[in-house]
Amino acid sequence: MKTRRSLVVRLSLLSAVIAAGLLSAALAVLLVYGERTVIWREMQGLAQGAELYAAAVRQSLQDAASTMETLAELTSPAAGAASPEARLLAAAILEHSTLLSHLMFLSPAGYTQLVLPSSQEGETFRRDLGYASWFGALRAEKRSVISDLFISTVDRRPTIVVAAPVHGMDGRFAGAWAGSLDLGRLSVLHQLPAGADPHRSGYLTDRRGLVIAHQGNPRYVEEQTDFSGVPAVKEALAGKSGTLRYLNPVELSEKLGAFLPLQIAPASPPWAVVYEVTARYALGHLNAQARAVVGLGVLLAALSSGLTVLSLRRFLRPLGTLVATAGLIGAGDFAVPTPLRTGDELQELAEAFAGMADSLRRKDEQIQEQITELQASNRELEAFSYSVSHDLRAPLRSIDGFSKALLEDYSAVLPPEGREFLGYMREASQQMGQLIDDLIGLSRLSRDEFHAEEVDLSAMAEKAAAALRAHDPGRAVQFAIQPGISAMGDPRLLWHVLDNLLSNSWKFTARNPRACIEFGSQASAEGTQYFVRDNGVGFDMAYAGRLFSPFQRLHAQSEFAGSGIGLATVQRVVRRHGGRVWAEAQPEVGATFFFTLKEDE
């Protein structure tokens, strides 16, 4: 017996699905939590980077400013900016500065009086910087200033200028020293060792959002790239500091960034310092982690299914044993199964099962004993029947035979009454012989084997009717036999039914000159009912219960001959066919005998 939907398969699938579901949920939680953690940690680092970068920038600018202020103080207005001392000092400063690319001395009107290092154009070329806003601020505020990004008139490259005013004895504005910053060098301020982390970079924009310095890509400086659209820059220029995840529209990539404003002059818009990292890069190892977790999940799911299969197999093996045992019991082998030692409910089941098998075995033994007893008693009964048929008849033969001998040989010495008595003796012994024969016949009906086949009851009834007519041709009886009635049953046994019922009708219609005997069938709730109906003497329904018992007679022997075995025979045969037999009658009107036969055979 093969199960179509094995428990092993179903439970394994279920376990795999559950494992996969649980793992997916765990994975999702892990990933979300992991990403948050990673981002938070990354942001911490970025904020620190931004602070450091801002500090370095601030320091550099302050250094540049104080250098310019020192140079301005040491420049005697009388001697003029072009004095050899001032020139030497400026040259020395320029030589040691890591940040300044040019130094210029500007006249109070804003013309360059000296540019160091000297260009090929010579000193004769004067540049007018008086229009620049930072120069105006320098003149007005009498302190050092830092310019926004602009294109240097000296080398045509973007630069910013740190300038300090020079004042005369009278406190008059006498000009200014200005240092032009090498933005390339500013860019690499506080830069990490080359190649260590190309994805992280700090940058600086002026108050308009133009890049002043960029650790990662100095080209942005050269091209005066506008970073004002970068959300982190926007925030910083608005004076805020913090961290943000955003799309950098310049680079078209997602970034994690820390930003802060850099106040370069009181009451002026700040610059922006941003330290950012490409999000994909920062979270890259997280994706790797996710892949690892997914892989682990799949592995675990597979392992869990495998384990489930194995453990279920192991778990169900005892069930297999039980199934096999049940099969054996079903086949009649009641060997009590070896109890399972699983120590769980299965063991209980197996024990209960063993108990059941044991009780079944005992029941079976009892049944076998009873069958043996029954067979023995059947054999005894057969032997008894045999004896009856053989031995009981022998004395009857003697009684009859010797009565006859007396009548024949000693008739002369016997008075008429003696001859009459001897006649009764013969009659009685012959009747008893008939009774014995009928009784044996009745017992044989129950003993003989049963062979069911399709039986044409109509034809059988016709045959019985013909036999009755042939036996008593003097009578005019009308038979109405419905044609085409057939049933499943043993033809030899069913013959007894029809023969007895029709003979009865024949017998009990003897006094009716217009006798009519009918055989037919009709449908009913319990199936087909067959009936034999006559218009004979009938009987009182009060005695209907005794009709089918052997040797019960409702009429005097002198009235209607018979042993009273016929209807008992009918009932026995009908019962062997799983049906029942009953009668309806009215005295002097007639009787109808009904019977059914089990139909699914």
């Binding site: 031995d391 008849r393 022998a394 009859d400 035979g401 012959q430």
Partner: protein
């Protein structure tokens, strides 16, 4: 009528008397030798110089029953072809089948009614002792 004898194997003396009477009433003149059981019947068959013309064999007999007697008769060369008629009260199917299987030549049931018994014996005698050609004597 031929004058061979008839062997009646019958344990019931009444039946023996009734059979003898039926023979007489049927005018069967053949000698009737009687064996009261199976063993006696076989001894008689062995002892007698001539075999009976027919054997009338009851089935239910003391010591050796009728079917055993029939088996032994058919098993011996001398009696192999001897006509054996089962004459019994039994009408059990198994007895009929077994008798014919063992080679009985005929099976007659003794009726209770003596008139019918006489009829049966008369017809049997007419057939087996007059009409029937017995097998050649060995």
């Amino acid at each position: 009528m031929k004058n061979g004898y008839v062997l009646l194997v019958e344990d019931n003396p009444h039946d023996v008397k009734l059979t003898e009477r039926a023979f007489r009433l049927s005018h069967i003149l053949n000698e009737l030798k009687v064996a009261k059981d199976g063993v006696e019947a076989l001894e008689l068959l062995e002892k007698e110089e001539h075999l009976p013309q027919i054997v009338l064999l009851d089935l239910k007999l003391p010591r050796l029953d009728g079917l055993e007697v029939l088996r032994k008769i058919r098993g011996q060369e001398r009696t192999r072809l001897l006509p054996v008629i089962i004459l019994t009260s039994s009408r059990e199917e198994q007895d009929l089948i077994e008798s014919y299987r063992l080679g009985a030549n005929s099976y007659i049931r003794k009726p209770v009614d003596f008139d019918k018994f006489v009829d049966a014996v008369r017809e049997m005698g007419l057939y087996w002792l007059v009409l029937n050609e017995p097998p050649p004597v060995a």
